[in-house]
């Protein structure tokens, strides 16, 4: 049996001023598999995060829905919360009820509330299907190839090399310097280009 926790954020009045957040939480609590459906003023704040961690531990939740802002903003934040609570960070799904709901449907609170419910139901459906994922690790060869030995390539090569890293500076012409070495004085200071 899936053990889902749903955490709905007010984002102050950003969501809470449009969407009936406690009403949504009550509605979502009725979905099968949802063991915990609760709301809080700012879910990303420290008390908000602690609330999630406590619920994960108390209710032995194994997957989490956070309904708040765009995942493009806070997905990493909440993945870390899951990790801190001992869950796989990829057992998270977010419902975007701010950018995609309260902020654009502010004039119709009822419709916004209904849409928020639908968006959270989507997230619950997805989270039910999630499986733990594990990041793979690959080594890094500490050496850089710079293609082109003009001003851009030389400058990049020097900046990298000055930090102690090895650089290969490749140039197709017999000599480096590119177009810049052809120039006489350069604006706006009129100093030489060598």
């Amino acid at each position: 049996m899936k053990r889902i926790g749903v955490f709905i954020c007010w984002c102050g009045s950003n969501i809470g001023g449009v969407v009936d957040v406690p009403g949504v939480a009550a509605e979502i609590a009725g979905i099968s598999g949802v063991l915990c459906s609760t709301d809080y003023k700012y879910m990303c704040s420290e008390p908000g995060q602690d609330k999630i961690i406590k619920a994960i531990k108390d209710d032995h939740l194994d997957r989490i829905v956070v309904a708040s802002c765009s995942p493009r903003l806070h997905e990493t934040t909440f993945r870390k919360v899951l990790e801190r609570a001992g869950l796989n960070p990829y057992m998270l799904e977010m419902a975007n009820i701010r950018e995609h709901c309260s902020w654009v449907h502010a004039s119709d609170k009822e419709a916004a509330t209904q849409k928020a419910i639908a968006l959270i139901k989507r997230a619950v459906a997805k989270v039910s299907q999630l499986e733990p994922l594990f990041a793979s690790h690959i080594p890094v060869t500490k050496r850089t190839l710079v293609v082109g030995g003009g001003i851009a390539g030389m400058q990049a090569a020097l900046d990298i090399a000055d930090a102690g890293q090895e650089v290969l500076l490749l140039e197709r012409e017999p000599t480096i310097g590119g177009k810049m070495a052809m120039l006489d004085k350069t604006f706006p200071t009129l100093d030489c280009s060598a």
């Binding site: 990829y90 639908a118 989507r122 619950v124 459906a125 997805k126 039910s128 299907q129 999630l130 499986e131 994922l133 990041a135 793979s136 690959i138 080594p139 890094v140 060869t141 500490k142 050496r143 850089t144 190839l145 293609v147 082109g148 030995g149 003009g150 001003i151 851009a152 390539g153 030389m154 400058q155 990049a156 090569a157 020097l158 900046d159 990298i160 090399a161 000055d162 930090a163 102690g164 890293q165 090895e166 650089v167 290969l168 500076l169 490749l170 140039e171 197709r172 012409e173 017999p174 000599t175 480096i176 310097g177 590119g178 070495a181 052809m182 006489d184 004085k185 604006f187 706006p188 060598a194």
Partner: protein
């Protein structure tokens, strides 16, 4: 240049081409071709005897056709490395087997006519592409400026070579036709830039400033000279740029707003006909020399390089950054970064800034011993994979390769081909999952089952 050549952490690979790039962020294997120089640079001391004695005279590309070089040559006296190469297309020995003077005079026996191209692999973790620009071949399209038939109609880069103290004229500004000092010099801006009909739609960004500099140089170096600048707009958005332009105006550069409609020869002078659109009347200038500020375009071979490295180009052939505002030096291929004019026309201050930015991205990568890869990537179930490799064809990141697997059937060990995902290259776009007819390819974190569950839930 010298700083780059002498840096203990920089290995110079001049006269080399990038033949092949394989691998992925942190783990690229590149194949580099050292073009044959016919000169052993370990033996060569750069003494210069060979190019003094070489009997072949060739027009110098480096001097933009204004000077000559030998078949064994260095581009300019301060070149790095300051050792010659032989131009195989123009060398008498390599073409007819008769000559070999450079070999005879070389005190260190460095000349080697038998030398061949060599190809060698290198392992790198990051690639910075900084391939620069070329100038639009204006002489192919601008008939009104004479299609290149008037020797005294030159480009800004030719002007630079002339005014450069180590250039073909030793820093003297002269007419290429007769070597005389020009008194009236006309500058035409936006030749090929901001010209959709004959050139490019974009602004080349540097021309306004270098034309102001050229006008200043003419007025400074040549007494009783006049500089006329025909322009569409004067764009000087940079620190101390407007002041620089105003200075050249105050020194006497005459700015005329209007396009030049025709240049023709009258005696040994050039007549430049145009309209002054501010005064609303035609103008005619008798010029000794005309300098064109030609459009900057991606350097020759950019399309092939994009293919080799695996990066995208924009509508004009410049390499495409990952995001125009937020990721200006990254490409859509992880581990490949951009610097300078290959990404779009820019001047030296902007190029240096962008190079520093690319370097900092590289260093952020190099500061890690291991890279943690996003696990939301494609996964191919070997059991279901039929090995059709349709996925390989649609993968934009070249992350799918065929792999041979063995299995047991009827007591026998059999072999078959399946598709395998390279976790370093896969960016998790999921294109492979859509073409997979057997349902073997699925995307972790955005699987078919997950997305269908979402659709079901949203439609209920």
């Amino acid at each position: 240049m010298v700083a780059a050549a002498q840096h203990p952490q920089i290995k110079l690979l001049t006269y080399c081409e990038l033949d092949e790039v394989n691998g992925y962020i942190g783990n690229f294997t590149v194949s580099i071709r050292q073009k044959s120089r016919y000169v052993d640079h370990d033996k060569c001391t750069g003494c210069g005897t060979c190019w003094e004695k070489c009997p072949s005279k060739i027009t110098s590309e480096y001097d933009q056709g204004l000077g000559t070089r030998k078949a064994i040559y260095v581009n300019f006296p301060q070149a790095v490395p300051n050792k010659p190469v032989i131009d195989a297309a123009n060398c008498r020995m390599l073409n007819s087997g008769k000559c070999g003077i450079c070999q005879k005079v070389c005190p260190t026996q460095a000349v080697d006519f038998e030398q061949e191209d060599s190809i060698f692999p290198e392992s790198v973790g990051a690639i910075v592409v900084a391939t620069g620009f070329d100038l639009l071949a204006w002489d192919k399209v601008y008939g009104e400026y004479g299609y290149g038939k008037y020797p005294d109609v030159i480009t800004g880069l030719q002007f630079e070579r002339m005014s450069n103290a180590s250039g073909p004229t030793g820093g003297k500004i002269v007419r290429p036709s007769d070597g005389k000092e020009p008194k009236n010099v006309v500058f035409i801006k936006c030749v090929g830039s901001r010209d959709e009909s004959k050139g490019k739609e974009y602004c080349s960004r540097t021309c306004c400033m270098y034309t102001a500099k050229h006008a200043h140089q003419v007025l400074e170096k040549i007494s009783d000279s006049q500089a006329f600048v025909f322009y569409m707009d004067v764009r000087t958005p940079g620190k101390a740029y407007e002041e620089f332009y105003q200075r050249s105006v105050q020194e006497g550069a005459q700015y005329i707003r209007g396009r030049v409609s025709k240049i023709y020869l009258k005696g040994n002078r050039l007549i430049v006909k145009a309209a002054d659109t501010l005064l609303g009347r035609p103008v005619e200038v008798e010029a000794d020399m005309v300098v064109l500020a030609t459009a900057m375009i991606p350097s020759e071979g950019h399309a092939e390089l994009a293919q080799t490295v695996g990066i995208t180009v924009d509508k004009d052939g410049f390499f495409q950054e990952a995001h125009p505002k937020l990721r200006p030096v990254e490409t859509n291929t992880a581990g490949v970064f951009l610097a300078g004019n290959c990404q779009g026309p820019k001047d030296i201050p902007d190029t240096v800034a962008q190079s520093g930015s690319a370097a900092s991205k590289v260093l952020a990568l190099m500061s890690q011993d291991e890279l943690s890869m996003d696990p939301m990537i494609s996964n191919i179930d070997e059991e279901f994979c039929s090995g059709c490799l349709s996925c390989q064809a649609v993968c934009p990141y070249r992350a799918i390769q065929p792999e041979t697997v063995t299995y047991r059937q009827g007591g026998q060990t059999m072999e078959r081909t399946v598709a395998a995902v390279n976790s370093g290259l896969c960016q998790g776009c999921g294109a492979c999952t859509v073409v997979c007819r057997s349902g073997a390819a699925n995307l972790k974190g955005f699987s078919n089952e997950q997305l269908l569950a979402e659709v079901n839930a949203i439609c209920r």
